[in-house]
């Protein structure tokens, strides 16, 4: 083979799911998807919050007086953590009411001890470990840190009484993870943690080649400045991820922060049988790029804002020049480029970029699991028996080449299984998850033999690419 067959470079594992546009859902989705594709968790972040007692914490004095007065829950609570309220009492003169719907803690003649008692009560009753901290003089602080890492410890309301103590954020923040991409391409790290900000955006903190990109990356959760944010589509493999919801621009919302792509390209070695012997790639190059909101969805050549590359050097952010990332296609300005058979040409997605805004750009390799289709495509395409989802596209107007970058996603209902009757043109599901229309074109294994779903009739009746089999009670599974 002397010429390039433009084979798609498939990675070992891919995941796809949709998630609600909230930080918890996105972080949770990434937490399940990335490690399943080969990423490793390199840092655990715990949701946290503090209550500041700048002028001190209340104290009580003796002597004990009996019988003690029965006290109930204060309203508002002295401290609230989520749904749990905490009420102080004077152990010399008061006794908590049995069965009161709150948590009590004893004040003390020493303020710090009373705060420690509060910390213990919170630790016992909530998902947070609380610690009393002496700052300076009467200034004390109560620190809450989630017992579990990740997004579960986020957005829990934490309130002081407003007189003695003030919550720093009003809720817990900062819970999340940092992950490192899989070996097999340049490795980089990304962290997603819950933050409070005006647009309720989810921030992504990258660590590329050991340094931070100049660009901060976030996607909008609330729809603020982003129009309607429905559900985010998340695609991952071991070397990158893509998150998006609709186009970068909508009527009235020209700058939607709803997309993010980060990818370390596949650098083909000379042993790759799908690479001609004369094509030589630098397999040791450190190469990663990121395309942020506003730069990604409506182009396959990413020179807009929010683009970062790192090529054997520090991460650089781009303007409209230099070594910005770009996908290669056969030049065909205007209408889609068709094959002799009248269908758009499809091939593996070579990417080129450079070190920075003053550099040239070079062919780095291919984007894992990606294909470039020489037409604007919407919806899932079946390519080589695999489902591919459009992640960015452009028309041929303005003399560009009409192209869609598509990324492979797992088969519909991957991993599901059951039993069925194989009756010539109809395969009838007996047990297992209901079948869906998006299985068409995808694989299914029946009785140990691989088939392709050709027709979906209903959730228990499909047809596959063999209409000669009659067998009952066969196991089916989707790889």
């Amino acid at each position: 083979m002397i010429t390039d067959p433009f084979a798609i470079a498939f990675s070992p594992a891919r995941k796809y799911q949709q998630a609600a546009p909230d930080q918890f859902s996105i972080i949770s989705a990434l937490a399940s998807m990335l490690p399943a594709c080969g990423w490793t968790v390199t840092a655990l972040y715990y949701g946290s919050c503090s209550i500041d007692y700048q002028t001190g914490f209340p104290a009580v004095t003796g002597p004990p007086i009996d019988p003690k007065r029965i006290v109930g829950c204060s309203s508002p609570a002295f401290v609230t953590v989520g749904s749990e309220g905490f009420t102080p009492y004077n152990p010399f003169t008061e006794q908590p009411a049995v069965g009161a719907p709150c948590n009590f803690f004893a004040l003390d003649v020493v303020s710090f001890v009373g705060l420690q008692n509060l910390a213990s009560a919170i630790t016992a009753a909530t998902g947070f470990d609380a610690t009393a901290v002496s700052v300076a003089g009467p200034h004390l602080r109560l620190d809450l840190v989630a017992k579990l890492p990740g997004p579960i410890g986020n957005a829990v309301g934490v309130q002081g009484d407003g007189r003695w103590g003030l919550s720093t954020n009003g809720q817990t923040v900062g819970g999340g993870y940092q992950w490192e991409s899989a070996a097999g391409a340049a490795t980089y790290r990304v962290a997603a943690t819950y933050q409070i900000n005006f647009a309720a955006s989810l921030s992504f903190d990258f660590l590329i080649n050991g340094n931070l990109p100049l660009q901060n990356y976030s996607i909008s959760m609330s729809g603020n400045n982003a129009g309607s944010v429905d559900r985010y589509s998340i695609l991952t493999n071991g070397y990158g991820f893509v998150i998006f919801d609709g186009p970068d621009t909508q009527s009235g919302y020209p700058y939607r922060a709803v997309s993010l792509m980060a990818m370390a390209p596949y650098r083909p070695p000379i042993t790759d049988p799908q690479i001609p012997k004369y094509e030589i790639f630098d397999t040791s190059a450190y190469a990663v790029f990121i395309c942020g909101a506003g730069s990604f969805r409506s182009q396959t050549s990413w020179y807009g804002p929010g683009v970062t590359t790192s090529l054997d050097g520090d991460a650089n952010t781009y303007a409209n020049k230099g070594g910005f990332p770009r996908i290669l296609a056969f030049r065909a300005p205007g209408p889609p480029l068709l094959t002799q058979s009248g269908v758009p040409l499809v091939m593996g997605a070579y990417v080129m970029f450079g070190q920075g805004p003053l550099s040239s750009a070079y062919v780095i390799g291919k984007l894992y699991d990606c294909a470039i289709v020489h037409a604007q495509v919407t919806g899932i395409l079946i390519i080589q028996g695999q489902r591919f989802l459009p992640i960015s596209s452009q028309g041929g107007n303005n003399a560009g080449t009409a192209t869609t970058l598509m990324m492979c996603i797992p088969p519909a209902h991957a991993g599901s299984s059951g039993t069925c009757n194989f009756l010539l043109t109809a395969v009838i599901r007996l047990t297992g998850d209901p079948w869906t229309a998006d299985m068409v074109g995808g694989p299914i294994t029946i009785g140990g033999k691989p088939y392709v779903v050709t027709i979906f009739r209903d959730d228990e009746n499909i047809q596959v690419n063999d209409d000669t089999v009659v067998q009952l009670g066969l196991p089916w599974s989707i790889p």
Partner: protein, 319 residues
């Protein structure tokens, strides 16, 4: 895909340009050595017919005739049944400034140009190169990396031709200078001939070789072009010489491939390929066209081994 080898005779020859008769005699020798047949003689010229490549039945006919106007030789492609014809291209001889031309003739295509030059040294003339051929069609040999969708149309006639024309000061790029042809080209599918519009707009779907480029508008006047070479190594990619028009791939050149950067014009290097059986073979290939995004290499000899049939396709997949 992979290279479309004809495994038929390929002739690389030098053509004397001192006189029309010598030029035509040398070209006649080259064409007939490549097994083109002479259909008939015409006044100061002949009509030739190409040889169908293996796994193909398609041919073209080529009229080569002295125009009678100052050493201009006319080249015009005709369909094999001569029911339709393309535009007339010209080559200038007998002017003293161009001592020789060179040609590479295969069974289904021919290329002609001035050695070492892209354009003519003759002031006020452009007739310096010509090419024509029947492309290699897929013939249903779809491989594992293709999107095997759609239906191949029935093709009974398919050919193309290009040359820079004989305008005084306007040079129309052709396959000697660029992967895309401007103005002076034509093509035929099933005897429907399309002649180039009088336009230089790349969005017109012109005759061309499909070359790799970024997807944005590389034809924009202030676009900063970059060569398609690998990082740190500087190696080009090797791609098929896909040929087409009207935004559709029609086939590929026989015995040819592209590299994705500019290679030294007319240099010849030996390449090694292997067939589907793992047998390796070598062949020389000349840089016929050298441009920023594409260098077209034409085989100057058929491969050294690898079987007699054409559809070895280098062991690569067709798509």
């Amino acid at each position: 895909m992979g290279l479309a080898y004809t495994h038929r005779t390929i002739i690389k020859a030098t053509l004397r340009a001192d006189a029309s008769a010598n030029f035509r005699a040398d070209l006649d020798s080259a064409l007939t050595s490549a097994n083109w047949s002479i259909i008939r003689s015409v006044t100061n010229g002949k009509v030739y017919e190409s040889v169908a490549a293996p796994v193909s039945t398609l041919k073209l006919r080529l009229l080569v005739q002295d125009s009678g106007a100052g050493g201009l030789i006319n080249f015009q492609v005709l369909s094999a049944d001569e029911t339709v014809s393309g535009i007339v291209h010209t080559i200038l001889t007998g002017n003293g400034l161009v001592p020789t031309y060179q040609t590479i003739v295969g069974c289904s295509q021919m290329f002609l140009s001035i050695p070492g030059r892209v354009t003519t040294p003759v002031l006020g003339h452009q007739s310096s190169s010509f090419a024509c051929g029947v492309p290699s069609l897929p013939y249903g040999t779809a491989g594992p990396f293709c999107v095997a969708e759609g239906a191949l149309p029935l093709i009974t006639d398919c050919w193309w031709s290009c040359g820079p024309g004989d305008a005084t000061f306007f040079y129309a790029p052709d396959f000697r200078s660029a992967p895309r042809c401007f103005v002076q080209y034509c093509f035929s599918v099933n005897r429907v001939v399309t002649v180039a519009p009088d336009s230089v707009d790349p969005t017109q779907g012109m005759l061309g070789l499909f070359f790799l480029s970024p997807t944005n508008n590389i034809d924009y006047s202030i676009y900063v072009a970059v060569p398609i070479i690998t990082y740190a190594i500087g190696a080009p990619l090797y791609i098929d010489a896909l040929i087409g028009w009207l935004w559709q791939i029609q086939g590929q050149l026989w015995d040819a491939f592209q590299q994705t950067n500019a290679q030294p014009l007319d240099t010849i290097a030996v390449f090694q390929d292997s067939d589907v059986y793992g047998r390796t073979f070598t062949f020389p290939a000349q840089v016929w066209m050298s441009s920023y995004y594409s260098s077209l290499r034409l085989l100057t000899q058929s491969p050294s081994a690898g079987g007699e049939m054409a559809y070895i396709y280098g062991g690569g997949a067709r798509g």
